[in-house]
């Protein structure tokens, strides 16, 4: 179905101001401080309209760090399910991509994609803020391309 002007306005808002939520699924803290770093003056992720949110119900992008431990596995699923559609997941750090150094530990079930679908992977131990910003910007341009591919009423 073709998009009307209101839906296109929503698309534009989503592209220009994605709200992110950060969840630590069992990281060593290294990637988490780099995610917060990306929001502070040196890197200033907010210039892309990105705002960190406290609740999954207000967020478009789930920024996830760390190998998924058995304790957080169900919480991660719950948080993902609480987010409104369309939703995106960015796995930050080598642990979040594959399990990394903790792969094979008895309390770790693997990377983020062992639990929920992932849209962008940012490797690195710890992933640098530049890499995180690059991933989010690439995700946004992919979103724009997907939105443009859909037919509009014009």
């Amino acid at each position: 179905m073709a998009k009307n002007i209101l839906e296109r306005a929503v698309d534009w808002g989503r592209r220009k101001s994605p709200w992110i939520i950060h969840f630590n699924a069992g990281a060593c803290n290294g990637c988490d401080i780099e995610v917060v770093d990306a929001l502070t003056p040196r890197y200033d992720l907010e210039r892309f309209g990105i705002l960190q949110q406290g609740t999954p119900r207000h967020s478009d992008v789930l920024v996830c760090t760390g190998a998924v431990t058995l304790q957080t596995r169900d919480r991660l699923k719950q948080i993902y399910e609480q987010m409104p559609e369309p939703k995106f997941v960015v796995a930050v750090g080598t642990c979040a991509c594959t399990g990394g150094i903790f792969d094979g530990c008895y309390c770790v079930s693997g990377g983020i994609d062992s639990v929920i679908p992932v849209d962008a992977y940012v490797p690195g131990c710890a992933a640098r803020p530049e890499a995180i910003i690059d991933a989010v910007v690439k995700l946004l341009s992919a979103l724009e391309a997907a939105q443009k591919a859909e037919p509009s009423e014009q």
């Binding site: 950060h22 969840f23 630590n24 699924a25 069992g26 990281a27 060593c28 803290n29 290294g30 990637c31 988490d32 401080i33 780099e34 995610v35 917060v36 770093d37 502070t40 003056p41 040196r42 949110q53 406290g54 609740t55 999954p56 760390g66 190998a67 431990t69 058995l70 304790q71 957080t72 919480r75 948080i79 150094i101 903790f102 094979g104 530990c105 008895y106 309390c107 770790v108 131990c125 710890a126 640098r128």
Partner: protein
């Protein structure tokens, strides 16, 4: 008045790591607080047993991303003592310089997080901006912004070039100037003092009784600093002053931390001026002789202890890590009770909690009383617990990695 129980976490807006606090309220007052941790338990002590000492070093570094250097120092010290190797003085000095840079970045990080908790976001942005300068130096020294990997068994991996020392001095001048402003802010800004004073009280006696460590205990006037009482690395030569404060509340903890940044700056300057020449590493044997060692260091959050038992092979028999946050959780429960709900985030933030450091406890409390679990019982309990949740952990085997030499 009826009581209300509020669960906070494990995903919550104020902290960046998962922890669950069950707060029971009577009106606005906290009458009971239960601290639930363990969401970050990855099982890295067990993973250490399946890998060689050199491989373990990189796992130990990832116990915590903020204080990674202190963990690897403690582990290296333990293994070096087992092998009977003394590291070169230059390596010991470089370890001290890294440790103090790490303390600076960690305390600036804390200052920002604490300011954020009380709604003072300007200070959050200021202190994190200054922290970037410290991170630049750490990245240049170690090669990475987080998890620097500068320690190796028997010394350090990278040297500190003379021009690097000048860069560090230039950075120290800038951060010192900024930190003077933070000290002035912490000591004289009335709104900040009013917000932080009198909350999260922990008396001198309670700090001793509950085993608080680091800035939390020093803010309760307990003079405990591993750099002073059990000198390691080059702290026997570098002049160290333990900062104490008698406010016994969140305000005191803030004062201790900002003053400690000044102390660290002084220590780095002294170490750079008196850096001895020489080798970077001593030769380490691949197989570590039998024995057990308990090693401790002063992390930015307090005393960090590592226990290593060797069995004569190239893999440890047992590694046990007790990080500073783990010791401080006991006092958090005590601090929360009797305070208002609105003060809960800043009281929790005031111990500078680090969940990834914490989550490796093997002592469980039951309703009947305390019980210490041995390794086999804990393993059985874990397997049973996850079986009930439909997950058979007994099938998981830690993969034997092929080691290429």
């Amino acid at each position: 008045m009826s009581k209300i129980t509020i669960p906070i976490g494990p995903q919550h807006p104020s902290l960046k790591e998962p922890g669950c606090f069950t707060i029971t309220l009577e009106g606005e007052k906290v009458v009971n607080a239960v601290v639930g941790v363990g969401y970050n338990h990855r099982g890295l002590e067990k993973a250490c047993e399946a890998r060689t000492y050199i491989q373990d070093l990189y796992i130990i570094e990832r116990v915590c991303g903020i204080c990674s250097h202190t963990h690897s120092t403690a582990f290296c010290q333990a293994v070096e003592e087992l092998a009977g190797v003394e590291i070169p003085r230059r390596a010991a000095y470089i370890r001290v310089i890294m440790a103090e840079l790490e303390r600076m970045h960690s305390h600036l990080l804390w200052l920002g997080v604490a300011a954020h908790e009380i709604g003072f976001d300007t200070l959050f942005m200021y202190s994190w901006r200054d922290r970037e300068k410290v991170l630049d130096i750490l990245a240049e020294l170690g090669g990475n912004r987080v998890n620097y990997g500068i320690n190796t068994l028997g010394g350090v991996r990278r040297d500190l070039e003379p021009q690097m020392a000048d860069e560090i001095r230039a950075m120290l001048d800038i951060v010192e100037e900024q930190n003077k402003y933070y000290i002035q802010l912490a000591l004289s800004e009335t709104t900040l003092a009013a917000r932080l004073s009198g909350i999260g009280k922990l008396s001198h006696e309670d700090a001793l009784r509950l085993g608080a460590v680091g800035p939390v205990s020093r803010a309760s006037n307990v003079d405990t600093d591993i750099r002073v009482i059990d000198k390691y690395a080059a702290y026997d030569e570098v002049p160290v002053t333990a900062i104490t404060d008698d406010h016994c509340d969140v305000f005191g903890r803030a004062v201790v931390r900002v003053l400690e940044i000044m102390e660290s700056i002084k220590m780095i300057r002294w170490s750079l001026d008196n850096l001895p020449d020489g080798e970077l590493t001593a030769k380490m044997p691949r197989r570590i002789p039998e024995g057990e060692v308990f090693s401790r260091t002063e992390a930015p959050r307090g005393e960090d202890t590592h226990y290593v038992r060797a069995n004569g092979t190239d893999k440890p028999d047992r590694v046990r890590v007790r990080a500073a946050s783990e010791a401080n959780w006991h006092s958090v429960k005590h601090m929360l009770e009797g305070d208002y709900l609105a003060d809960v985030p800043i009281i929790i933030a005031a111990i500078d909690p680090c969940y990834s450091c914490t989550d490796r406890s093997i002592v469980l409390r039951s309703a009947a009383g305390e019980r210490v679990w041995d390794w086999a019982a804990l393993r059985r309990y874990g397997i049973e617990h996850y079986k009930k949740q439909g997950f058979d952990a007994s099938k998981i085997k830690i993969a034997e990695r092929k080691i290429i030499r």
